[in-house]
Symmetry: C2
Subunit: 350 residues, 2 copies
Amino acid sequence: MIANSYYAQDVHGPYDLHDIGDLALEEGGTIRGCRLAVATFGKLNAARDNAILIPTWYSGTSKIWEQVYIGRSRALDPEKYFIVCVNQIGNGLSSAPHNTPAPFDGPRFPRVRIGDDVRAQHRLVTERLGIQELALVVGGSIGAQQTYEWAVRYPDMVKRAAPIAGTAKNTDHDFLFTATLSEALRSDPAWKGGWYASAAEVHQGLRRQARLWAVMGWSTEFYKQEIWRGYGFSSLEDFLTGFMEAYFLPMDPNDLLCMAWKWQRGDVSRMTGGDLAAALGRIKAKTFVMPIDEDMFFPPRDCEAEQKLIPNSEFRVINSVCGHLALFGTDPGYAPQIDRHLGELLASEA
Amino acid sequence: MIANSYYAQDVHGPYDLHDIGDLALEEGGTIRGCRLAVATFGKLNAARDNAILIPTWYSGTSKIWEQVYIGRSRALDPEKYFIVCVNQIGNGLSSAPHNTPAPFDGPRFPRVRIGDDVRAQHRLVTERLGIQELALVVGGSIGAQQTYEWAVRYPDMVKRAAPIAGTAKNTDHDFLFTATLSEALRSDPAWKGGWYASAAEVHQGLRRQARLWAVMGWSTEFYKQEIWRGYGFSSLEDFLTGFMEAYFLPMDPNDLLCMAWKWQRGDVSRMTGGDLAAALGRIKAKTFVMPIDEDMFFPPRDCEAEQKLIPNSEFRVINSVCGHLALFGTDPGYAPQIDRHLGELLASEA
């Protein structure tokens, strides 16, 4: 275990820790006493049919969903819905390399797949929360991967699905981009094969990863229009350090590597012997596929190809010069679009 | 000086070395006895008005122009034109960090700007070759930057210009992408501040750079369609190592850093006090602005914004799923488009 004050209640809470027992993983490992960090908003109704599940993305936690997506008179309204935001395995709030005791700590934390996360969440939702039906599963990026996995794996349980800025089967290009992120960490001599004493030692690798995100995470137009000026930064370099590096610096490298490995291999067709059309054809949820038009690594055309394979689905493109990182909510024009689409989806018969 | 058999006549020749004398640089340094490696094709006519100048791109040399762009019955036809392909400073054939003797060797090689290259080429062309008029200047990527610089700096001399997959003023996004390429080299402990004993020592940094190019150099669609299979590779990893890493591995890191620094700062508006419209407004050449539709870092919309500022210009988009690296000629549909546009440009009144 490595002490890291970033993954704490005062930064990311309030959230509850649920021990869901031992979780046997697809790749052969086991997380013993797997803990899921869960933030909930609103109340489960008497019919137990107003639950919304939200899985998290790479580097993100439930906190950003609370801050950017959930609120009264928003589509994700805790007055109407019981919103369950589950932190993915490896994100540092839930079981992760940095908070697992030896001998399964750090680089010995077992390989986790999207399917493992979704099975863990299913156990939480059905056994701990007593929920058999989800009015909506919505998530961005790796959260979109988990959303697809939910809809394919438990088609009768998921009534509506909204994968934002992500794909059901990860692409080769996306795999390569993610590999450069991980290599930025592992190539730092301070990483020491994952046996660093504190995340701060690997700060150069974390800074390098932050700058790779700067290239692919936003868009060419984001920089052309100098959108970052609106965030209170005095120069491009000030933004790169003060926003991008500041965001990644406190994070645990092994936690990030755990999530990246999972992200690279997201693929619902693993459930159907490699047949993506068959996998997506299983989805019963009313599904809105919601890519972001300027996304450089989950481009709309890749998402549209998948949408066409989903029976009861619509293609809803979000417009933002912030590209993939519009997920952060930095574009004031973003949230209204999300609310409009999710509101329409939630209002639809399912 | 560092021995490197890659930058040799048997790999990149035949080319001639021209000593153009001392070159005082914009940033304050001087290249003493600056050598330009020049490959020529065809003959200068009696009127001395059939010369075509081609500057090279990052990591490239005159060889790829010979192999992919120049030939009988091509637009760049040595039967009709005297084609002068000048290797940019820093590319390893012309004066560069690796081939310069101490004390100005390696990391002490002075900073070079696009304007320095173009002034050096102008000296070569006017004083050594006796040419006062260029029927066409054409180049890709950093070669496009030099093409713009030529057209703005010597408007009466350049009759036609064809910048391919590049901009007149580099963008912030492009600057950031290039920074990650350079950081991949400098973060290799074997780089030793530029004082490595051989390029082979820095092979991990070169390999990392190659993989960053894999993400941004091609396109998402290139990988979706697995275009690399057509190049004779058995898997994605085989392609990354056998093509991308193989391409960069023999190169000198300091040479690459010299070119990258220049690329990041290409900006014709330096000649007009920062006024890009005024700079591009000076161009008298008939100009075809030729971006590649899938280019991830010189996107067509950036090129179109510049084209609109050039008086006698047309916007000619090249279509290729190979993205920026279509420049390599790996897409069989690429050369015919280049030939059609360049042929039309060369046939036009200027």
